[in-house]
Amino acid sequence: MSSRFLDRALVLAVASVGALTSSGCEREARDFLPPKPGAEVGHAASAAASAAAIASAAAMVGRYEHNAHAVSAGKRLWTWYNCSGCHANGGGGSGPALMDDVWIYGGDAGTIYLTIANGRPNGMPAFGSRIPKDQIWQLAAYVRSLAGLASADAAPNRDDAFLTRTPESFSDSQKPETVKPSAATGRPQ
């Protein structure tokens, strides 16, 4: 009896070590070349294209949100492309806050991708023709990590400058909640 128990324990141990190792690999993997065209979201703004885009985005989420390099690259681009100019460190300024649970257009990765790529009314510029798709996905993953929606083990936990808030990897997961923007102001009501 005890030998069977040991066997099972051994199988379990091997399986969990395997699972841990494989998830660790995904976290650390780094591709020097972005994915081939085809598995990407287009920049088209039509509703049908957006829906298709969001559906195919699901496949991309794991690639970026569970990968420490992709999320921290997003964090670097956040400063480089001056996202912080309007959204500050995620707490918002002249742009909306991104570390709370309020999403004007939706907090899933595909919608955030489209927001960055195509822009939104009242000030959000379109980056789609300016930066590679790969970088938009990295930014989308980082934006989600601000609200605690990206994988906690992949989210960054350090800043290059003085850390002014809870690190992304310790952010509580904020439940996304889409709010309809007011027709007059474009802001959540």
Binding site: P34, W80, R130, I131
Partner: protein
């Protein structure tokens, strides 16, 4: 990247001081090595050997070796004297390194990035400052004070023919002073492991005669040359409208970002990517299309563009002398 990269052929006083120190160390260590090996050979040669007729050594008390104490005392005394000589030589070299006169020095602000060097030539008035990358020019015979900073991780500045090493540490400022007394091109290299492309993080220091240096400086202060042919105009349009302008600056155009090498006079430089690729029209186009092919892990993303467009961008950048 071509250029002299040799500790043993100093081209300035700092490197010459280090070369002298190296010579003292080399002579001292060679003497010690030879003496040690000779002493060892004598000891082996003269060691008592047992023959067939020798009686077995059954004495429980070790034999007293008359010369043991003498050898140890001489050994310690000799090593101490030599170490003191090396200490003194090192002290004298350090004094000489810090005594370089800095009157009328050229001031360069050098920032280490993963994996390239950003150089800003300081001046008393803002319109005279300019920025370049991976290629420093210095006037022969004038001291140069380089202020070292790092943007991301620790790097180290090392141009062996001109000076010793000094680290660039994020959040700290350090300076290194050097002078080139002989015109020439000297190669430098990041000397502190900084990531994937540490090995391809080179720079050149070109020591020009003062008149040439002034001419180079005047050229670098100019805004970018306006495109002349239709292809160059198309190239500028693409540079301004695609991802190039998100990180690079070309003065006099709409590209004004400061996250990647300043391209205002990129054609005046011999190499791209801190010595990764020679700056020729074909290689430049390939570099724009996919720099990761040459230098995997750098921050420059691939650009999905038609061959004609790549050629136009390459032609425009090639015109920026």
């Amino acid at each position: 990247m071509n250029g002299v990269h040799d500790v043993l052929s100093p081209a300035g006083p700092q490197a010459a001081t280090l070369y002298q120190l190296w010579n003292v160390m080399l002579v001292a260590c060679t003497v010690v090595f030879v003496v040690t090996i000779v002493a060892l050979a004598i000891a082996v040669w003269r060691a008592p050997r047992a023959t067939e007729r020798a009686k077995p050594d059954l004495d429980p008390h070790p034999r007293k070796v008359a010369t043991l104490r003498r050898s140890v005392v001489w050994g310690i005394a000799g090593s101490s004297v030599l170490l003191l000589v090396l200490l003194l030589a090192s002290f004298v070299a350090d004094r000489a390194l810090s005594a370089l006169p800095l009157a009328n020095a050229v001031r360069i602000d050098l920032v280490g990035h993963q994996f390239w060097w950003e150089a800003r030539y300081e001046s008393h008035s803002p319109e005279l400052t300019f920025s370049t990358a991976n290629e420093l020019h210095v006037p022969v015979g004038r001291p140069v004070l380089v202020r070292l900073r790092a943007d991301d991780v620790i790097h180290s500045f090392w141009v062996p023919s001109l000076s010793g090493k000094k680290d660039l540490i994020p959040g700290r400022e350090s300076t290194i002073a050097l002078r080139a007394d002989r015109a020439g091109t000297y190669r430098g290299q990041c000397a502190e492991f900084c990531g994937y492309q540490h090995a391809q993080m080179a720079l050149v220091v070109v020591a020009d005669p003062p008149a040439d240096y002034e001419r180079w400086q005047a050229l670098q202060r100019e805004p970018a040359r306006a495109p002349e042919t239709a292809q160059e105009r198309r190239g500028l349009e693409l540079v301004e409208q695609t991802s190039c302008a998100m990180c690079h600056a070309i003065h006099g155009t709409r590209a004004r970002a400061r996250r990647a090498p300043d391209l205002t006079h990129v054609a005046s430089r011999g190499w791209l990517g801190a010595g990764a690729v020679e700056n020729t029209p074909a290689l430049r186009a390939e570099w724009i299309a996919n720099a990761q092919k040459f230098k995997p892990g750098i921050n420059m993303p691939p650009l999905d563009a038609a061959p004609d467009d790549l050629a136009a961008m390459s032609a425009y950048l090639g015109s920026l002398r």
